[in-house]
Symmetry: C2
Subunit: 235 residues, 2 copies
């Protein structure tokens, strides 16, 4: 934590809210990991825990929003300070959405447990989910350390997640065509993978905000990584 120049009441107030962001980030990373695990191991009890734990994530978002509103009301921050407070609000909103997608993943454990496994679809989904989890961890590290290079790398990695989503989508189509009994399970897996892809979008938003906070500029020139890998047939 960068707490070497906590001088004003504003900084102290903000520090408290920032630590809630980090706590929330940890819970969300956990939710992604356990949500995926519950799905893969068909563990209904674990799925239930993930669903229950989402309440704590939502409560933290509320607390962060109220904390941020209190700072605005008490300290009347302007310019850069206001931008920082608003950023905290936006990041907590992104984290809350990611947590919801993880909860939704866990919710599908029960219905997917009743279906036969479809090819290696679950393995692809696990790799995709793991990639998003690491992106989230890195985006939050980039936020703490205002690490622009790391944030730009996170944004670039979102392209990989998209490509994993596309590959899985084609894989699922094949399974459905092979055996119509796979269709229900495949539709659920497609739904989950789309939500995982959306988690990646929210992580990208967090990383974009880190760049904005650190540089005052939006990362609209950040080049997607696939630009350099397309000719290698990355799709």
């Amino acid at each position: 934590m960068e707490n070497e120049h906590i001088s004003s009441a504003f900084d102290t107030d903000l520090e408290a809210v920032q630590s809630q962001i980090m706590k929330m980030g940890g819970l969300v990373e956990n939710a992604i990991q356990l949500g995926m695990k519950s799905l893969e191991t068909r563990d209904a009890e674990l799925a239930r825990q993930v669903r229950v734990a989402d309440g704590a994530i939502d409560a933290l978002e509320e607390a962060i929003n109220e904390g941020a509103a209190r700072i605005i009301a008490l300290r009347a921050p302007t310019a850069v300070d206001l931008r920082l407070v608003l950023c905290v609000i936006k990041i907590s909103g992104n984290l809350e959405r990611i947590g919801d997608y993880a909860k939704n993943m866990a919710k599908r454990t029960e219905v997917l447990s009743r279906a036969a496994p479809v090819g290696n679809g679950m393995g692809t989904l696990r790799r995709m989910t793991r990639a998003v989890e690491v992106m989230l961890k890195d985006a939050l590290d980039a936020y703490i350390h205002r690490d622009v290079a790391l944030a730009a790398d996170v944004i670039a990695r979102d392209v990989d997640v998209d490509q994993m989503y596309n590959a899985l989508f084609r894989e699922l189509l094949t399974f459905m065509m092979e055996d119509p009994r796979n269709i229900t399970a495949c539709l659920h897996l497609h739904f989950i993978s789309k939500n995982t892809e959306r988690m990646g979008d929210h992580v990208t938003s967090i990383a974009e905000q880190v760049i904005y906070l650190a540089t005052g500029k939006q990362p609209d020139e950040a080049r997607p990584k696939a630009d350099t890998t397309t000719s290698a047939g990355a799709m």
Copy 2:
């Protein structure tokens, strides 16, 4: 505009900020349309206008943020009212990002003007951009009217944008393999299409917030539309 029960000072203050959101939305829709047009017609002067107009979008976001901060400071809203103010802040943030992507599109007009046209890549990009533009218009209409069904439809349409992005990506790969002289132009087009896909993500976020505002619940059960079209070979 739903202004039938403007009763409190809070509502009046908020109404002013909301109308700035609608104004910002109009400017952003315009930027998408003209950014795409400048690219397609290789119109450097139009591209310049889009870049300049982005300043007004950024200024509106600043004004909305300051207006929202003023409301929080003066009215100390809690619960539902606070949620509404924070939502306005988040939506203006989404609009600002979309505007940046449109500006970035215009910025590439000059470099793309120097290259030979690549197949029908531009046509696919135009359709994709047009789809996002209509999604944005609908998301803002859903916001004004708190129209949950329309917002859910916008979220579902994001899947179509993803699939257009994938189709274009494959198309560009083919052009690059056919003739290496196409590579530079294709990389630019790929970059633009990825940004257009990201515009779609931000529009989706706006639609999700409309559902949250109207129902108090996150739309984590909203099913991607492709679930019903996959077997028809939509990819």
